[in-house]
């Protein structure tokens, strides 16, 4: 059974600081997804990582994928309050790219002024 684990599950940080969220998964996959969820809202796609060594950046967020280590990271640079949200990573759990995403537990990020 595919498992996706994130850590930390909760992160409180000061504005201006850097931090990294880790996403480990238990089976081989060359695709990994990061989503953002604001409280009571739907999920917004942040990044799609499609191959080993893939790195994508958008603003203060940068995501990377190491398929050999089965690890993805979401790095936050100089955090601002607007980044406060819950971040999910997900891996395709199907045997043939079915789009059946298996999600991690989520990391709730709280950025304090």
């Amino acid at each position: 059974e595919l498992k996706v684990e994130q850590n930390p599950l909760f992160l409180s940080m000061q504005e201006g600081k850097n931090y990294t969220i880790y996403c480990n998964y238990s089976t081989t996959s060359d695709r990994l997804y990061w989503y953002r969820q604001d409280p009571g809202k739907s999920l917004e796609s942040l990044f799609v990582l499609l191959s080993n060594g893939a790195v994508k950046q958008e603003g203060r967020l940068m995501a990377s994928l190491d398929t050999k280590a089965r690890l993805s990271t979401l790095h936050i640079t100089a955090a601002v309050h607007d980044l406060s949200a819950t971040y999910f990573c997900a891996v395709d759990g199907g045997s043939s790219n079915t789009g059946k995403l298996i999600f991690g537990q989520g990391t709730t990020l709280q950025v304090k002024p």
């Binding site: 739907s42 789009g99 059946k100 995403l101 298996i102 991690g104 989520g106």
Partner: protein
């Protein structure tokens, strides 16, 4: 452009009552459709998955069922709700798996409270 509609946004139902949540997608044809549930403070759990009309895969045993009567319509149902059915239900669509730009697009969600 493609859009996904999900309703209702909020629903409060008594235990033992039926349930029907509807999701429709516009601007695309033959999408893969998904129902996810998010319990309070938890991650997302895939409930159902469909690759076409009348084709439903159930991912976890439960008190719920799904149907796809039309290409872009996905319905989540229950005959008798349980307290444990409470949660945030999200419909999603995806297309082109295996291509470089595929991802899931999520609806706005339904917050279901079973009392």
């Amino acid at each position: 452009s493609q859009t996904i509609h999900q309703w209702p946004a909020t629903l409060v139902q008594p235990v033992g009552s039926p349930l029907s949540l509807e999701c429709t997608v516009e601007g695309t044809s033959n999408p893969n459709l998904y129902w996810y549930r998010q319990a309070a403070g938890r991650g997302l759990q895939l409930l159902f998955y469909s690759v076409g009309i009348g084709q439903i895969s159930s991912e976890v045993p439960q008190n719920l069922s799904a149907s796809r009567p039309q290409d872009r319509q996905f319905i989540l149902s229950s005959k008798k709700l349980l307290l444990s059915d409470s949660g945030f239900y999200l419909c999603a669509w995806g297309q082109g798996w295996g291509a470089t730009n595929e991802k899931l697009f999520f609806g706005s969600g339904t917050q279901l409270s079973v009392l």
